[in-house]
């Protein structure tokens, strides 16, 4: 039985979440999230990559359904099954990746699902459409004719069109997901002015951003998410940047790591095996220079979009570079391409194992053999020596500890995420690499398999392999690596040896909230 006070609080809450839980393949991503957005309020939602923000947004938007918990919006139960449900109730989303059609006009984009008709005919009343669009554009302060095609607009202008779209459905709650990442200073100022105007009209908002300064400036309340749980919430004035960062980063290690010798490489480090100098590609990376040594586990940290995976792809020859030099064991590589690099002992596990690392319909053995196939082919016809191939496959299966219940002929699609990743790893290990680049090696993998992969990585480093690990999980990097590089917006902004590992410092470098500290 709710008391009068609870009743009043409940009435002034526009959106309320209670105990929201969500799991993917048994791994809990949201562990009972509860918070609320008051009518006309502005709540900032902050958290690291992987904290669960996107999942939460998807649940609010009807793309995913929670396993447990309740949602209430405007005093009624809210359980959207699809995005249309969310729109109907008056919740609009301004996503980081804008959902506009560049080949259509502004007005067509705004009214895509609700074109004004000419009476009862199926024909679109274009006059009315443009009139209403023009008015919406006026409201958001965009002085552009509504028949302009979206592809001619800048990122900031497109975002305003999205907001106009939100107003057209008479949204009462707008959720902004990383709105300022692609905006210029001027566009950001314009956006904030618009937000202030919309708030004055009573719209409530959720503002998700890594730019903590903006969160402090705009929001009344802040909710901090970490590992699928709300670890802090309250009025903005009760937080400081330091407190926010420390809440985001947390104190407990929730994964076990194999022992890593602390002075793994101190003064007598191995010789550099991979040297990168001034690698640049406009829009992606800027003057990246670093060295990876033999036997070193080097971590690459940073926010999503900082350019880490893009850098790895450039190093492996999958994407072009404008300038820069890459040296392998002292030898300059002029032409970077997968066959070239594989021949020289470089291996690359991409972050999308299903689409880029595996032939899902092929057998386990076929996938394991793919990189090193030529080694088992007798020239000139490249006749396959099946015995040596089978021996290699069997050997690597036990090295990566692939589940013995999976057969060699089983299609890889049927394996669990952890076993799939082991297949990709095994495939590359067969090539006896000197440099191993791993992009999100434990994404979507259960704790047990993660530990096995960490052990493998350390074992490889002990044998003298240079390992570059890209990961969005800071704890993982800190437990695994000898050194961590931090990237932000395409630049390398920090470089810490293990003895100086510090969560706050790394996160601050990734977010850009602290002055850059170069070791």
């Amino acid at each position: 039985m709710t008391t009068n006070k609870e009743q009043r609080t409940a009435n002034s809450e526009l959106l309320s979440l209670r105990g929201i839980e969500k799991a993917f393949f048994g791994i809990k991503v949201l562990k009972g999230v509860s918070f609320s957005v008051p009518a006309g309020g502005m709540v900032g939602l902050v958290g690291e990559n992987g904290a669960g923000k996107s999942t939460l947004v998807n649940i609010l938007g009807g793309n995913l359904q929670p396993e447990a918990g309740t949602l209430r919006f405007a005093g009624a139960d809210y359980a959207p099954q699809n995005p249309q449900d969310a729109a109907r109730r008056g919740i609009a989303f301004i996503h980081q990746e804008l959902n506009l059609f560049p080949n259509l006009s502004i007005a067509e984009n705004i009214f895509l699902t609700r074109f004004p008709r000419a009476g009862t005919t199926p024909f679109i009343h274009r006059g009315e459409m443009h009139e209403r669009a023009a008015e919406l554009l006026r409201k958001v302060g965009l002085e552009i004719p509504s028949h302009r095609l979206v592809k001619t607009l800048s990122a900031g202008e497109r975002q305003l069109v999205e907001i106009a779209k939100a107003l057209s459905i008479e949204a009462r709650l707008i959720i902004f997901d990383e709105p300022t990442t692609s905006l210029s200073e001027r566009e950001t100022t314009r956006l904030f002015a618009l937000i202030a105007r919309l708030r004055a009209r009573g719209l409530a908002m959720i503002y998700i951003s890594h730019t903590l300064a903006d969160v402090f400036r705009l929001c009344d309340d802040i909710v901090v998410l970490r590992d699928g749980e709300v670890v802090g919430s309250g009025a903005t004035k009760t937080f400081t940047t330091e407190k926010l960062v420390s809440l985001m980063v947390g104190r407990t290690m929730n994964q076990l790591f194999p022992e890593r010798r602390a002075e793994a490489f101190g003064s007598e480090e191995g010789a550099p095996i991979l040297e990168v100098r001034d690698v640049s590609q406009s829009g992606v990376a800027e003057n990246i220079s670093f060295s990876l040594h033999r036997g070193e586990v080097l971590g690459l940290s940073g926010l999503m979009g900082a350019g880490r995976s893009e850098l790895a792809r450039i190093l492996f020859g999958l994407d072009p570079r404008e300038r820069g030099e890459v040296r392998l064991a002292g030898e300059v590589l002029h032409h970077l391409s997968p066959p070239n690099l594989i021949e020289r002992g470089v291996a690359f596990l991409t972050e999308n194992r299903r689409s880029e690392g595996l032939c899902l319909d092929a057998a386990v053995a076929d996938n394991l053999a793919l990189v090193t196939l030529p080694q088992h082919g007798r020239t000139p016809l490249r006749w396959l020596l099946r015995d040596s191939l089978q021996a290699a496959v069997t050997r690597i299966r036990s090295v990566v500890q692939l589940d013995s219940k999976t057969s060699d002929t089983q299609p890889v699609r049927t394996l669990s995420g952890g076993n799939q990743q082991k297949v990709v790893l095994g495939k590359w290990l067969l090539s006896k690499p000197k440099v191993l680049i791993l992009d999100e090696p434990t994404r979507g993998i259960d704790v047990g398999a993660k530990f096995e992969i960490y052990r493998l990585i350390h074992g490889l480093a002990d044998q003298g392999v240079g390992v570059l690990v890209i990961s969005s999980e800071l704890e993982e990097l800190m437990g695994l690596c000898d050194r961590i590089l931090v990237m932000r917006s395409g630049c390398l902004v920090d470089d810490l040896p293990r003895v100086q590992f510090d969560r706050e410092r790394i996160l601050a470098a990734a977010l850009g909230t602290a002055k850059e500290v170069k070791s």
């Binding site: 690359f348 032939c359 092929a362 002929t409």
Partner: protein, 328 residues
Amino acid sequence: MAATPVTNLESRTTTRLRSLCLSEYLVLALTVLMFAALAPFTPGLGTSANLLNALGYLLPLFIVAVGMTLVMITGGIDLSVTSIIALTSVVGAKLMTSDGGGTPAIIGVLVMLALGAGLGALNGAVITMLRLPAFIVTLASMMFLSGFAVWLTQSKNIYGLPGSFLALGQRLPIAFALTAALGVAAHLMLRRTVFGRWLYAVGQNATAAHISGVPVRAMTFAAYVASGLCAALASVMLTGRLETGSPVLGREILLDIIGATVVGGTSLFGGMGKIAWTFFGVLFLTVLDNALNLLSLSQFSITITKGAVILFAAVLDAVRNRFVVGRS
């Protein structure tokens, strides 16, 4: 080995039926069934004269289908094969008859094969370098090459080919040996060499193959060269058998080639296919075509029936892709 699980609720008949449907010998079984069913009604189906005639249809069809299989495994398609047949036929014929100075048959054959490979290379180059869809590229070359062949001969056939050349298409032991050699070579390449594994990888996931160091562009290119070469070899046989260099040679068998390959079980989506399957598909289509002709059905009825059968095969292919995974 059946990859699909069997529930306890299924009857034994259903299970047997299901494993037959998904077995790679389904098409062979259907062919035998079809032959047995039609034999009582079709005059002359079992006679040796008819069987020899059927072989004349089957052997060149199988040769081209081998090339088509390789291309399809990479996930592509080659619509220009019949135009390559026509163009190589007229170029070879022109060379070998008094028109071209009466060059010896062996040169003529080599030129035809080289031309076929070269045209395939052209297809392959455009597809891999310009990254255009195989369908559009080979459709365009089909139209171009066909028109070119007609223009070269001013729509006239070329007669008077040397006897040694005709033997290649007419002397059954030679034709049979050539076809068998090609089939075996292609089968071994696919199954027992690195190149074969690479072809499958390209069709299954070209991106993953590329990252894993597979020379994706080179393998795709090679598949189209092989397809052109096979078309040229089939042209040698057909030209010899019909004793005519014809600019419209092979025009009517494009559907048969693609249909036979797909009916056999090679997937249009790529990554799956075997020479043995293609052989079953060609055999199936041969018996079908042969029987329909003997039943004196009109040409339209024959094409309607063939079309329906191939549509059925494509549906089966899609269904198989969805429910049965990882047939190697």
